[in-house]
Amino acid sequence: MQPSEKHREYWRKNLFITAVLLAIWFIATFVEGWYARELNSVTFLGFPLGFYMSAQGSLIIYVVIIGVYAMYMKKLDKQFGVDEGELE
């Protein structure tokens, strides 16, 4: 079967959201990690910010990334008619 143009658009949208979330992941991980020492000069909730991000902040961002992806894709599946229907 050749996927239709509509399917290709679904896949492009999937790749786009994947790339966006991956970029956020990269910043929360490697950019944050690289500049941890500089971030530490800022205080956040009583924590040095660099420490806070590595111990908690980035972790929260990871949870949110995965949650957003699951919700967005569920909507996208329905919109493009590739969803699996409701579980009974």
Partner: protein, 690 residues
């Protein structure tokens, strides 16, 4: 699946059962707490926790026994997202996460956070690149995907080899952890502990495969998270005044930083640091133990006489007398103490600033520390997204949408523990720096006095400058004590210590179960069924899997009982190996249609090879094994430690797949259809059939 099966009814039932179960477990803990007040001994509390929890897991195992292949390999593919999340959490969090993590963070401060970030952020990669597509593919093992996508048995075989390589070292570490925990809390011998734990592992995976392991892991997650959070919440109340210390330990961290500065400048501490250096050097140089033992005794006797003559305060005299009384006359016993004194070498320097990233003496050292931090983060993340025992769990959800959601729940449940560990490390450090440091040797906090006697490997305190007061430089801590002693530091009854042990046991058993199943399935499904005897009936495949499970478990238990020294390194190495071998082939297989068989085979071999080469030239144990003699520095690339060898293996593996694929013909039409097939959760007119 039978027609009458309803996902929503099943989900409701599960929620009811596990709520009842959690309530029952809490009632059990409360009953034991009451029994403790009535005079139950510590050893019996230990036994109760050990046998009640293992018995419980066995019961779930027996109830879930099965000979059906779909049930045995993927739990019937009806595990709801929420519960698969809990099961993955237990599968993921090992003895090292539960017992070791907070200790690592205590000892290495900010740098330890590389593991916290790596072991959580990896789930983003699982969610974005793997879980939904593997679920759509919907077979039984990870090598299955390699076999179908790249065709033939070679890619599958490399997958099997890599899966076993990563999982076996990991499972040995878990069984080792089980042995340590059971022996510590019940007084059984280490070897006996290993085999008791093995029984607990086998009764689940052997009888019911993935089905039994899944429902046991959910039960184990509930125990381990209660066990981890209870003492931390208590300790947090003591130091921060609110029951969610994870949000409020910032000011405590600031206090720790101030105490570090104070300790660094304190003349008494400086004196102790110098003495620590000296004592370590002397202990290291001792050749004639009887002579050195007698000399030290004479020194301590002279000191007691000196302080008495000088009319020193009572606590100083007492401390000096105690040091003398603790010093053995038997040179064999003294040998152990001399060995412990060598560890004082770590105390020769001022305390490492806890909140400071990448400390180092100059800019070059700091730069290498930063590179290694990011290297570990990288390898742990991509390793997480490539370890077969984790990926396998996403085959068990009812559909793709549930698989995506289930990664969310997985990380949420893992997050609960991983954002608590750094908090625990800071709270424990504050307690040590403010309460233990500066206390009189004659009046140590109760937990320190107790653990000091129990196990010198976990805690030794020596009055180096003989002033009767504890200095930080006089304390040598083993990382595991942080989690093990937290209930006592927080002033909780022994029943909470038993609960912590049960939690550690649950963490180790659940991970071991998942790993053993991965190995046995790779051998029975991928090797036996797909390569040796494709006509084997399903019941025969399950039987073969069970027999293999038993054999692998026994080999792993035997290896663990020899107490291999490099076990912790090997576990870290498993992440780099998995990242280098699996990740490029799996992800390119889904996202790049052009990736082909030759490319995947070459890429996996190169990834594994580079990784292994780097480790064997830079890690001391492997260097000895292969007779590498030139200095380590000549082999180091960018100053990265061997644990981060995936930083080289993964990109080179990926590059190899791309280059070799482009140089060889594109994959056939059926393979291209497979790629389309996994990309859409449900597509009308999809003709791809396995």
């Amino acid at each position: 699946m039978s027609q009458a099966f309803s996902h929503s009814t099943f989900n409701t039932q599960l929620k009811r059962y596990y709520t009842l179960y959690a309530g029952g477990f809490l009632a059990f803990v409360i009953a034991l707490a009451i029994a403790e007040q009535l005079g139950m001994t510590k050893q019996w509390i230990g036994y109760c926790f050990l046998f009640a929890t293992i018995g419980l897991y066995a019961m779930i195992g027996i109830m879930s026994r099965t000979v059906d292949a779909t049930e045995f390999y993927v739990a019937g593919r009806r595990v709801p997202a929420f519960f698969n999340g809990m099961a993955t959490g237990a599968d993921w969090m090992s003895a090292a996460s539960f017992i070791g993590m907070a200790g690592t963070l205590y000892l290495s401060g900010f740098d330890g956070l590389a593991f916290v970030m790596g072991w959580t952020g990896g789930y983003c990669l699982v969610a974005l690149f793997l879980a939904p597509y593997l679920r759509k593919f919907g077979q039984f093992t990870i090598p299955d995907f390699l076999g179908a996508r790249y065709g033939g048995n070679i890619a599958r075989s490399i997958g099997v080899f890599a899966a076993i390589l990563c999982s076996f070292t990991y499972v040995v570490a878990q069984i080792y952890g089980v042995g340590i925990i059971t022996s510590k809390f019940t007084g059984l011998a280490f070897g006996t502990g290993v085999f008791v734990g093995l029984g607990g592992i086998l009764v689940c995976s052997f009888l019911g495969g993935m089905r039994a392991v899944t429902w046991t892991q959910v039960a184990q997650y509930i125990i381990l998270i209660i066990a981890y959070l209870t003492p931390v919440v208590w300790l947090g109340l003591k130091h921060t005044g609110i029951p969610v210390p994870q949000l409020a330990y910032g000011p405590t961290l600031q206090k720790v930083t101030e105490l570090e500065k104070k300790i660094t400048a304190d003349p008494k501490e400086q004196e102790s640091r110098a003495l620590a250096k000296q004592a370590a050097a002397e202990a290291g140089a001792v050749k004639d133990f009887p002579k050195a033992t007698a000399e030290r005794r004479a020194l301590l006797e002279k000191h007691v006489a000196d302080v008495k003559a000088a009319n020193a305060p009572d606590y100083v005299v007492k401390a000096a007398e105690r040091e003398l009384a603790n010093w053995p006359t038997d040179p064999e016993q003294a040998k152990v103490l001399f060995a412990a004194r060598k560890n004082l070498a770590g105390n020769a320097n001022p305390p490492k600033p806890h909140a400071t990233p990448f400390p180092g003496k100059d800019e070059a050292a700091q730069d290498i520390a930063r590179r290694n931090f990011l290297g570990i983060v990288f390898c742990m993340m991509f390793g997480t997204a490539a370890l077969p025992h984790i990926l396998m769990r996403y085959y068990t959800t009812p559909n793709v949408e549930q698989a995506r959601k289930s990664v969310f729940w997985s990380l949420f449940f893992i997050f609960l523990l991983y954002f608590t560990a750094p908090c625990l490390a800071v709270l424990a450090k504050y307690d040590v720096y403010s309460n233990l440091v500066g206390s009189k040797f004659a009046e140590l906090p109760a937990w320190a006095a107790a653990w000091r006697v129990v196990d010198p490997a976990l805690l030794t305190i020596t009055d180096l400058n003989l002033d009767g007061i504890v200095q930080l430089a006089e304390i040598v801590l083993g990382g595991d004590i942080i989690v093990l002693a937290t209930p006592e530091i927080a002033g909780l009854p022994y029943v909470v210590s038993g609960l912590v042990a049960a939690g550690g046991l649950a963490a180790a058993l659940s991970t071991a179960d998942g790993l053993l199943l991965t190995i046995a399935n790779a051998l029975s499904h991928d090797v036996y069924y797909k390569m040796v005897d494709p006509s084997a009936s399903t019941s025969r495949r399950v039987t073969v899997s069970k027999i293999l499970l038993l054999i692998v478990a026994l080999i792993a238990a035997y290896t663990a009982s020899t107490k291999p020294g490099s076990i912790l390194f090997l576990v870290g190495a498993a992440f780099s190996l998995a990242a280098s071998s699996f990740f490029p082939a799996l992800v390119l297989g889904i996202f790049w249609k052009r990736a082909n068989k030759a490319g995947a085979i070459a890429g996996m071999v190169v990834g594994l090879g580079v990784c292994f080469y780097y480790m064997s030239t830079t890690y001391p144990y492997l260097r000895d094994l292969f007779g590498v003699t030139k200095p380590i520095a000549e082999y180091m690339w960018f100053g990265l430690n061997p644990i981060s060898s995936g930083v080289f293996g993964l990109p080179l593996g990926m590059l190899t797949i791309i280059i070799v694929s482009l140089l060889t013909p594109a994959p056939d039409e059926k393979t291209q259809r497979l790629v389309e097939h996994v990309r859409y959760p449900n597509i009308v007119g999809d003709t791809y059939a396995h």
